[in-house]
């Protein structure tokens, strides 16, 4: 018998209050009361006594009551209400709370659930007030995502009549027998194209979802199997599609382009690193670049630091919460899967989103009051999520993933542009720490050996996340598979991570490890099989979440929280015992061989047998051609504004410049006790562009981290955009104290329409800038990732087709290693009387700037980066820091000098007197002086007594004293001609800086 156990909060419930407030903000002003009941539906028979113990174990007697409801037992009506809205999960969707509840019940009653029995959670929101059924339906839509959740609405009358809400078990029922089918490839090119685009044909004429294989690739596969004299099985074709996907093989970034035979990646990214390492010689700090799941550099004599930044864009568009939580726990596995396993020590996030409409409009996707409604389908039945929903969801996902995993999140950003409406960009990064040697063995080297067992650990396999890799290799449209959505389970992963990194690794129980990410087992196993020279897998041994999966689904599913390991046979017992004791599932699913083949058996029958060489390197090279895009020159048509104070206040409230402390402070940035400089700095708690951590408790050495992106520049000048990203990312960490000689970079290219020659030209330009500036600065790339099809194809509310492509976006992440964390500098002004200096020159470079964006201009002059000049400046500045001369510093970036200055003053909660007259460079307008985004600039304050020695340290660089910090809480700026142009109260500046997201 199935029992619903409802847990009711006795007194005050903060969740209910927040929900009511939020709905109120959405326009439902007539809600007089709202309360929440958490429901556990236990699908197993228990005695009443046992049910009591279960309910007691799942609730807290101090604050909660519980009630039961079964088929025969009606739910008690506690209070009158207008509507009850229940949200539960759809079958097969990860239900973390239910897993815990089941474990509690089993542990408390010393019993086991059978495969047919389970626990399901749901939540009922009771609403009282003058609301209509239609209102209730809208509210329900705002509370759930139909892709992964079910909803049920009942009026009070219906509730009484039915005796409560319904008893629903979200059990997965797959009645069909798992099967393997052959795919006939002796077909026309048109048919080949169809299979490549929409997937293998099912017997019911539906297709299985995108393989993302174009005709060129399909033909190569056709040829290969013709040679073998047979057709491929579905699992073979699916497996090849995963391995060859853009997501995994990066054919665009890696393929020959114009006359560059080696492709952009080899020619511009990898070559930059090779040349830098060679030039650095003995001072080379790179250890493992590009080849592993993360890149690694030297930290000290005993440790390496790893870093990796991933994107999780497509899943986040469909299910923002699930997309971003799997983004963060996924990139954590790139750390755990580095070398023999690194420990994640810091997370990083970045969200590129469309501006959310006002709260009322953002109620839900497709709300008539939202001015921008887009649909995936022509019938306008499948709306995309509103930007606010996406924003809330991705923020919550990183919150859950990062906080629950016990990994601090000291740095991140949000960036808004209308062109992210169809597809948001969600960046997730993780820095890791690993001893250089483990029991004398170099930790960054791993190799599975023939005879090693293939072992899968962590979570089980379900239908979630099927076609993730191929799906992210195409644009989003109505055919985008819902099965691509996964929800992370941070605790299952944490248990696995602890058991592997903190115990199994240090006993050297395995030879190799990699994470099950894109492509699932098909990619992880075949990747590791390259090390040994082959593999044979018994697919029926893979533990499943529920029965009924076809073998191809098991093989490519991206169900989360799994790692694949190569374990020598004589270590298996030790490893298996350890995992059992840590509550981690570990299963032998096959053996690594030296056969040169990737072989998969299912219940004794061979269902896949492909040459490893063909699988990994059989994909044809595609020659790419670019076409230069002429840049639209646009002259500025707006005169210098009179009211500069008003402009500065508006700038401080711009979504791209303003405080997002509501995100920073809900992410734990102090766990692991490694915080040095956090995301919010100074009295004014200003969002900083760079953070510092101290990875080892007993060492004073630190890691400085930052990032930069300038998508608003890319359509004007993609080369300079790349240059600016590199200079900004490098300068940000230097401003905070990094040593210019020990900075490494990561590149994340998020492009669009990557088959268009013009887009490829932009890509080439940006990649070239990456090479030029990385080499100039001596900052090697150690890892990177690209995502080439960030396009949305859908329909507007008139049913007209619409296409939205993200602006070409390059994210450069930077990390630097420093010897002494006390030699770091925060951004906030420290003491009245301190002198303010600007380092670097200001020119009229406002093309694509935030200021121009505010006054609806584009402009044509993007900042130029003079690497040689900057390098000299940075070296002098680093010297000044070592002499303890810098009291505060901020890298001048988006928003220019005025915004950097305001942040410094808000951070210190002081005042400033500024004279633009002395500004080095060439500007003729006050607004240009204040908001130009010229690169290579840092704004610092120093103690007056250090003036001489500071100026001496900076000799030969363009620097200028432009004012001083004052006690009076006012920002006063005198213009280029000496006249006062801004006299702004600190309080007003602080309010402007904080108000935009005050209600978030």
């Amino acid at each position: 018998m199935t029992t619903r156990i409802g847990i009711i909060v006795k007194d005050f419930d903060a969740r209910a209050q927040t929900r009511q407030k939020k709905l109120n903000g959405f326009g439902f002003k007539n809600i007089s009361d709202l309360w929440i009941i958490d429901v556990y539906t236990v699908d197993k028979s228990f005695s009443e006594k046992h049910l009591e113990s279960i309910a007691q174990a799942l609730s807290n007697p101090v604050t909660q009551n519980f009630i039961f409801r079964t088929k025969n037992k009606k739910a008690k009506l506690e209070n009158q209400f207008s509507f009850a809205i229940e949200i539960g999960f759809l079958p097969g969707v990860t239900d973390n709370i239910a897993h815990t509840a089941k474990e509690i019940i089993e542990d408390t009653l010393k019993i086991k659930f059978s495969n047919d029995e389970d626990v399901y959670t749901s939540q009922v929101t009771f609403i009282n007030g003058k609301i209509s059924k239609a209102d209730a339906e809208q509210i329900a839509l705002s509370l759930h995502n139909p892709l992964i959740q079910r909803t049920l609405i009942k009026s009070c009358g219906q509730f009484i009549k039915d005796g409560g809400m319904d008893i629903v078990t979200s059990k997965v029922k797959l009645i069909k027998k798992p099967q393997v089918t052959d795919v006939n490839l002796n077909i026309s090119d048109e048919e080949l194209i169809k299979i490549g685009k929409s997937g293998i044909l099912n017997s019911d004429e539906t297709r299985r979802g995108p393989l993302a294989l174009d005709l060129l690739f399909m033909k190569a596969i056709q040829k290969y199997f013709k040679k073998l004299g047979r057709n491929p099985t579905d699992i073979e074709l699916e497996s090849i599609a995963q391995t060859w996907s853009e997501h995994c093989k990066h054919t665009i970034f890696g393929g020959p382009i114009d006359k560059i035979k080696g492709g952009l990646y080899k020619t511009y990214i990898k070559r930059a690193t090779e040349e830098i390492r060679k030039k650095k010689g003995k001072k080379d700090f790179c250890v493992s670049v590009f080849t592993d799941n993360s890149g690694a550099i030297v930290f000290d004599d005993n440790y390496l630091i790893t870093h990796k930044v991933e994107t999780h864009n497509s899943p986040s568009a469909l299910d923002p919460y699930g997309g971003s939580i799997t983004g963060i726990v996924g990139v954590n596995r790139d750390t755990i899967g580095f070398g023999l396993g690194a420990k994640p020590i810091a997370n990083f996030y970045g969200f590129c989103l469309a501006p959310p409409a006002s709260q009322a409009r953002a109620l839900r996707a497709g709300d008539p009051s939202d001015e921008i409604i887009l649909y995936r389908d022509k019938d306008l039945k499948n709306p995309i999520l509103s930007s606010r929903r996406i924003m809330d969801g991705v923020i919550d996902g990183v919150n859950a993933g990062g906080n629950q995993s016990g990994i601090p999140t000291p740095q991140g950003f949000i960036y808004f542009d209308e062109r992210y409406r169809g597809k948001p960009l969600v960046f997730a990064g993780t820095i890791g720490l690993i001893p250089k040697k483990i029991k004398g063995k170099l930790s960054h080297i791993k190799k599975s050996l023939p005879g090693d067992l293939i072992v899968m650990t962590g979570g089980r396999v379900g239908k979630d996340g099927i076609h993730g890799a191929t799906f992210s290799s195409v644009g989003l449209d109505s055919g985008s598979p819902a099965a691509a959505v996964q929800i992370g389970d941070p605790i299952t992963q944490k248990k696995m991570s602890d058991a592997i990194i903190k115990e199994a690794r240090d006993q050297l129980l395995y030879n190799s490890i990699t994470d099950d990410g894109a492509g699932g087992l098909s990619c992880s196993v075949s990747e590791m099989a390259k090390e040994s020279g082959g593999c044979i897998v018994d697919l029926e041994k893979v533990p499943l979440k529920y029965a009924g999966l076809d073998p191809w689904e098991i093989w490519i599913s991206e169900s989360q929280e799994r790692m694949t390991l190569a374990i020598p046979k004589n270590n298996w017992k030790k490893f298996s015992d350890l995992m059992k004791r840590r509550g981690v599932e570990a299963t032998i699913i096959g053996e690594f061989t030296r056969s040169g083949r990737c072989v998969v058996d299912y219940n004794g029958k061979k269902i896949m047998d492909v040459d490893l060489e063909f699988l990994h390197d059989g994909l044809p090279k595609r020659q790419l051609e670019t076409k230069e895009l002429s840049i639209k020159k646009q002259e500025l048509s707006i005169a210098e504004p009179k009211d500069q104070k008003k402009i500065l206040l508006s700038m401080l409230s711009r979504m791209n410049l303003t405080s997002f402390k509501f995100i920073s402070q809900q992410y734990d940035n102090i766990v692991q006790s490694n915080a040095v400089l956090g995301p919010l700095q100074g009295r004014g708690r200003v969002n900083a562009d760079a953070s510092v951590i101290k990875p080892i408790l007993k060492s004073q050495k630190g890691v400085v981290m930052s990032q930069a992106l300038y998508p608003s520049y890319s359509e004007i000048d993609p080369y300079k955009m790349g240059a600016v990203c590199i200079d900004s990312a490098v300068r940000n960490v230097i401003a905070a104290g990094a040593k210019p000689d020990i900075i490494a970079l990561l590149d994340n290219f998020c492009w669009c329409e990557s088959f268009e020659p013009e887009r490829l030209w932009q890509l080439k330009q940006t990649a070239k800038a990456c090479y030029d500036y990385a080499v100039s600065y001596g900052t090697p790339f150690i890892s990177g990732k690209d995502s080439m099809f960030n396009d949305f194809k859908g329909f507007d509310n008139n049913g007209l087709p619409i296409k939205i492509s993200v602006p070409p976006t390059l994210l450069i992440s930077s990390i630097g290693v420093i010897d002494d964390i006390t030699k770091t500098v925060s951004l906030d002004a420290k003491f009245a009387g301190d002198i303010i200096y600007i380092l670097g020159e200001t020119h009229e470079e406002l093309g694509g700037s935030e200021y121009f964006s505010m006054i609806n201009q584009t402009g044509s002059i993007v900042p130029d980066v003079d690497a040689e000049k900057n390098k000299k400046l940075y070296a002098s500045y680093y010297n000044a820091i070592q002499q303890k001369l810098i009291a505060s510093s901020i890298s001048i970036g988006r928003g220019g000098l005025a915004v950097a200055l305001a942040k410094k003053i808000i951070g210190g909660q002081l005042g400033a007197d500024i004279y633009l007259k002395n500004l080095p460079g060439s500007v003729n307008r006050n607004d240009f002086a204040l908001y130009s985004e010229s690169q290579g600039r840092i704004l610092v304050t120093i103690a007056p007594s250090n003036k001489k020695i500071f100026e001496k340290a900076m000799l030969g660089n363009a620097i200028s004293q432009i004012g001083k910090i004052v006690k009076e809480p006012t920002i006063k700026i005198n213009g280029l001609k000496g006249e006062e142009i801004i006299n702004l109260n600190l309080k007003d500046a602080t309010n402007a800086y904080r108000k935009t997201f005050a209600d978030y």
Binding site: A14, S59, D498, Q665, D668, K698, F831, A943
Partner: protein, 272 residues
């Protein structure tokens, strides 16, 4: 009778497993203070590989045990209750110390080790519920010491960081009165240096009577939401950059320790 270690180094067991995550820095805090600490997975105690009676101090560290599912600390407390209750009871009979920090505080509360009014160890009497904002919050707070627990001996006020989603203390009126009367409220949020520096309200989460930590009636079991182990270095204090600049200008040496270390030192001192 107080157990005196031969080495004069009290032994600390720091629990781990199932999503607890602050065990390493907590163990390090005790070590810095002069104790010897072991991180032990709960299953190794359940299996009998480790025994609690070997130790003078038990520490339930911060974390996200079981992802806070079914209420923060609840599932881990269930596991301890189901398997280790007898060992815990024996531990309580001796003159020993227990601390629960953040998630650990939620665990010892759910386990009924604090406040254990009327000596009812094992009964849940107090709860930590969702913050008033219903959101996870990370910040520094100021604390006033209001009890005589050995853990906080000699401290009047101190500042520490918090990082939690469910840290709002709740207790009914009758028990609240008892807590006050018995001086079992160990720490209260107060408007001090850090709240003023950061311009934030003293009480971060809506806790009843500004409670940040409580003890059992002996004072030997302390549960607190703030994290001493995340405030044990000078460079973790929110205004350390300002202080650094001040000390540099005055020609003073920079301090190394943060305020949280004293709590670990107090525990070590108790056994000396």
């Amino acid at each position: 009778m107080r157990i005196i270690n031969i080495m004069n180094k009290p032994k600390v067991l720091v629990f781990s497993g199932y999503g607890l995550n602050s065990e390493e820095e907590t163990a390090y805090g005790f070590e810095l203070a002069g104790a010897s600490s072991d991180i032990v997975h709960i299953n190794d105690i359940v299996d009998g590989r480790e025994k609690l009676d070997k130790y003078q101090i038990l520490s339930f560290p911060g974390g996200f045990a079981y992802g806070d599912d079914t209420g923060a600390g609840n599932a881990y407390a269930n596991k301890v209750r189901n398997h280790l209750w007898v060992q815990i009871q024996k531990f309580l009979e001796k003159d020993k110390l227990i601390i629960g920090i953040c998630n650990g505080c939620q665990i010892v509360t759910n386990l009924g080790l604090i406040p254990a009014l009327s000596q009812n160890y094992g009964e849940r009497q107090v709860a930590q519920v969702y913050n008033q904002s219903a959101r996870f919050i990370t910040r520094w707070v100021d604390l006033r010491v209001v009890s005589d627990t050995p853990w906080l001996l000699g401290i009047d006020t101190l500042s520490l960081p918090i990082a939690h989603g469910e840290g709002k203390f709740f207790v009914d009126k009758k028990d609240l009165k008892e807590l006050h009367k018995n001086r079992q409220i160990a720490l209260q949020y107060t408007l001090g240096e850090m709240s003023i520096y950061l311009d934030l309200p003293a009480n971060p989460n809506g806790s009843i009577d500004d409670i940040a930590g409580i003890t059992d009636s002996t004072g030997k079991i302390l549960g607190l939401m703030p994290h001493p182990e995340r405030g044990m270095f000078f460079n973790q204090i929110p205004n350390w950059q300002l202080l650094k600049e001040k000390y540099n200008r005055e020609g003073q040496k920079l301090p190394v320790d943060g305020p949280g270390l004293q709590i670990f030192k107090n525990a070590v001192k108790y056994f000396k």
